[in-house]
């Protein structure tokens, strides 16, 4: 109902073209400011991902412990260890994990982690300081056997190791460590004993600790002391620097292909419609692509190779949208009712005629791509959402430009030519300034 009300009113979109041109100009200007600010502060105007920048790898060899059941929790743990890593002063290194994959199976199963260097950290610092730190942190935290401690009363507790057999030397080591912990925390240990049960075939699974005196500090620190670093259960292998997946050759090739596609589309539109329509369509296309870039720049979304796919998706969509409007313009221009109409009037009329279609089509396409974004978020597969977001922005920009921008440019071009002979010099200059601004 609302749409049909709007339809009956006089439509004066093209006349307000200054507003339509200022909105995207502001967005793009904001993006440029953000890029300059981030460029000065961090040296990275855009948040480029590993596909373009390369990064580092580490391979966490978990062997048979890595199964489909444990995979998710191991991956979460690895990510947490790497991303929360700090230097001696407790400052976070800000290393970001970009992908984790399972590699191999059975004995050779491992988690292959790719991560990006933090902003402004040199390769040498990564190699000498951060990468070894990551490796040893993973070694300590991922391959640790952490027992459960149950306090029977304030002075007796049982430490249970699951699926882990204590050999005598390890037990003696633990005993010494517990004694020294007690003396550090003003507690007194009366006995540390191995518990043997019938179900255990080899070694010991649990130990009991009896205390003459207990302390809070002892209780709190015990878990760290009785955790065993299990070097033999796996290994974090320090990987190396890896190059970008998208080489500069590949990127240049992609840009050339896209440029050629745009030129050929321009030729086709100029042939089927008018040169002015072709130019207006390409301006709309550039608007959509720049808006997507602006979105990535303003919100610092990581740009990976999937962004190229998002860009060419919008390239196809934007042209499609614009052509539908220009088809109506072409038809209305030929119509007898518009023999003496100005281009502005025809453009307004054509936008009005195609508005319902534009809204319905944009809505349906938006539904499909929004589902990808929502599902990505719901399943914690955020790379899908990151892929869908710029497409959603491009869709909205494409709808906007096909309604507000390309018909206005076409009308401006047409009416300027028509008026030129009659118009005085002042107006001509004014118009030219306007075009230059646009």
């Amino acid at each position: 109902m609302k749409i049909s009300n709007l339809m009956n009113r006089d439509f004066k979109l093209v006349e307000k073209k200054k507003i339509w041109f200022i909105i995207p100009a502001c967005i793009i200007a904001l993006a440029i400011v953000m890029m300059i600010v981030f460029g000065c502060v961090t040296g990275e105007p855009l948040n480029l991902g590993m596909d373009f920048q390369g990064g580092y790898t580490v391979n966490v060899k978990l062997s048979t412990k890595l199964t489909s059941a444990t995979s998710a929790s191991y991956q979460a743990e690895i990510k947490n260890v790497i991303e929360s890593l700090t230097d001696e002063n407790g400052n976070n290194y800000n290393v970001k994990v970009s992908s984790m994959q399972e590699q191999g199976s059975g004995e050779s199963a491992s988690v292959y982690v790719r991560y990006k260097a933090p902003h402004g950290v040199s390769d040498a610092v990564m190699e000498d300081e951060i990468n070894p730190a990551i490796q040893s942190a993973l070694q300590d935290k991922i391959f640790k056997i952490v027992p459960t401690i149950t306090w029977n009363d304030d002075t007796t507790c049982t430490v249970n190791y699951q699926n882990f057999a204590l050999v005598d030397s390890t037990f003696e080591e633990l005993k010494t460590n517990i004694q020294s912990l007690a003396s550090d925390t003003s507690a007194t240990v009366s006995s540390v004993e191995q518990v043997s049960t019938d179900s255990q075939e080899a070694g010991v699974k649990a130990i009991t600790i009896k205390l003459a005196a207990n302390s809070e500090a002892f209780k709190n620190a015990l878990i760290d002391t009785v955790s065993i670093n299990d070097k033999y259960s796996g290994q974090a292998v320090k990987g190396d620097i890896i190059s970008a997946t998208v080489s500069s050759e590949l990127l240049i090739n992609a840009l050339l292909a896209i440029s050629l596609a745009i030129v050929l589309m321009l030729v086709y539109i100029a042939f089927r419609f008018e040169v002015s329509s072709g130019v207006a369509a390409i301006v709309a296309l550039l608007h959509d692509i720049l808006t997507m870039f602006s979105f990535m720049a303003i919100f610092r979304v990581e740009i990976n190779s999937t962004f190229i796919a998002a860009l060419i998706t919008i390239l196809g969509y934007s042209i499609n949208n614009t052509i539908i409007v220009f088809d109506r313009i072409r038809e209305n221009t030929k119509s007898v009712f518009h023999k003496n109409s100005t281009a502005t009037l025809i453009a307004n009329e054509s936008i009005k005629d195609t508005l319902v279609r534009s809204i319905n089509t944009s809505l349906t396409t938006l539904i499909t791509i929004a589902m990808v974004a929502i599902m990505g978020a719901a399943f914690q597969t955020f790379s899908l959402s990151v892929f869908a977001l710029p497409i959603i922005v491009g869709l909205l920009a494409g709808t906007f430009s096909s309604i507000f921008i390309s018909p206005s440019i076409w009308a401006m071009w047409k009416d300027r030519k028509k008026k030129l002979p009659k118009a005085d010099k002042k107006e001509k200059n004014l118009k030219e300034n306007e075009t230059a601004l646009a």
């Binding site: 399972e102 990987g239 992609a254 052509i323 809505l363 589902m371």
Partner: protein, 454 residues
């Protein structure tokens, strides 16, 4: 009568769509043979399904001058080789300074990676009389397996230095034998020792004695690998899980199904019976899309490919929306239902063709000049657009005709309404209803004639 035949035709299309849907998603066992559903037969990329990886390391003995640029050159050659074998989605990255990591999607057995890349072979042409090496693999521009007089051979084309050396050696040693040797992993084998019958000056050499075309292909690949600027040996290889995570594929499927259902619901609410038509056409489109993605060689579906499909679904829906809005316009201004549908289709055709052709131009350019995942996107988009044109211009047109024939007096079921101007005009004219009917029939006939002419 017309109503009956329309119902029959409609049922046939409906049944075909449902059969298509079943074949798209269900896998059957017929005794020993298995029918794989279209959906499961689609080859998937590294990002959605994973595959195998192999890490190659430069031989320790190799000298390290210009290492960086030679590694980069080797990487490019490997990439081109994988692409030429149809693995457009494979990736090659440098790891450290002396290693290359190759990932190939949708291959389960890591051993297969050797079949793809081939063990690098060093080729040499040696004069038996003097032991002089005339040519090496470095002089080879390209090596391909082909047939020569019905015998499988490897045809080599040589660079200018190679051509010169080969011409000199063959012209000076007519009647002698020349051995062609290849070295793989340090093992030298003599492939053949042909007699030189005449001087060969055109820069083309042929290796015969291959036995089979497969053997010829293997050698050709090995020679190509042997040309790499850096000698590589395999360090490790294994399977690898999807880059986007285990759940990416499931996520994509659910998003696709829910998205499609929501779109159909929207179309039905907005256009009623016409929306039902669009939904049938969309389902048919989805069936065909899955079928083509499954049977076309070189299609490897990745995230960009999914974007291509989403775009083509958008365009398929768009074509329907454009047509329906035109039909509504025509009906609003007083045409009969059938005449409105004919006129609507006719007027929408130009816009749909122009927008689709423009996108086809973009897709073809990206397919020819793009690389890797851009090609994957282009294939998905191209197939999608052609199918969307087929379903919107042919299937929808027929379906609308059948639906109108079944329900000829229920325009509101198609969300078709007359404009107020028309209603007023009709009331003021207060013409004989019979006359209006004949008028309408006349337009219908005209519409049909116009339709036949397209």
């Amino acid at each position: 009568m017309k109503k009956k035949s329309s119902i029959i035709k409609l049922s046939i299309i409906g049944v075909l769509t449902i059969i298509g849907l079943i074949m798209s998603f269900c896998t059957f066992n017929f005794g020993l043979t298995t029918f794989k559903s279209f959906g499961s037969a689609i080859k998937l990329g590294l990002d959605l399904k994973g595959g195998v990886y192999a890490v190659y390391e430069m031989d320790g003995s190799e000298d390290t001058t210009n290492l960086s640029s030679r590694m980069a050159g080797t990487r490019t050659r490997l990439e081109n080789m994988l692409t030429s074998k149809g693995y457009t989605e494979a990736t090659v990255v440098r790891e450290g300074s002396t290693r290359l990591r190759v990932e190939v999607p949708d291959v389960d057995d890591p051993g297969n990676i050797f079949d793809i890349i081939g063990k690098p072979a060093e080729l040499s042409f040696v004069l038996d009389s003097t032991g002089e090496i005339v040519l090496t693999g470095k002089n080879v521009l390209s090596a391909e397996a082909t047939y020569d007089n019905g015998e499988p051979v490897v045809a080599l084309s040589l660079d200018s230095a190679g051509t010169e050396a080969f011409a000199k050696a063959t012209s000076e040693n007519i009647g002698q034998t020349m051995s062609i040797k290849s070295t793989v992993d340090g093992d030298e084998t003599t492939i053949s020792s042909p007699k030189i019958n005449s001087a060969i000056t055109n820069g083309r050499a042929v290796i015969n004695g291959m036995g089979s075309i497969e053997a010829a292909q293997t050698l050709a690949d090995q020679i190509t690998s042997g040309q790499f600027e850096v000698k590589l040996s395999l360090l490790e290889s294994s399977t690898i899980s999807p880059t986007l995570g285990e759940k990416a594929l499931l996520c994509g499927i659910i998003a696709g199904v829910v998205g499609l259902a929501l779109v159909m619901a929207f179309l039905i609410v907005r256009y009623r019976m016409l929306g039902v038509v669009a939904s049938i056409a969309l389902l048919l489109y989805a069936d065909l899309m899955l079928l083509f993605l499954a049977i076309l060689p070189w299609v490897q579906l990745t995230l960009p490919g999914i974007a291509g499909i989403i775009l083509s679904i958008g365009m398929a829906v768009d074509a329907n929306v454009i047509i329906y809005e035109r039909i509504k316009d025509e009906f609003r201004n007083g045409k009969s239902m059938l005449a409105s549908s004919h006129a609507g289709f006719k007027k929408a055709t130009k816009a749909i063709i122009d927008s689709n052709v423009t996108t086809i131009i973009a897709a073809v350019v990206l397919l020819i000049f793009g690389t890797g995942s851009i090609q994957g996107f282009a294939i998905a988009l191209l197939v999608g657009i052609i199918l969307s044109l087929f379903t919107s211009m042919l299937v929808t047109r027929k379906l609308v005709k059948y639906f109108i024939a079944i329900m000829p007096d229920k325009p509101s079921w198609f969300s078709l309404t007359r404009s107020k101007d028309y209603e007023n005009l009709k009331a003021s004219e207060s013409v004989d209803p019979e006359e209006v009917k004949t008028k309408e029939e006349k337009t219908t006939l005209e519409g049909e004639v116009a339709h036949e002419n397209i």
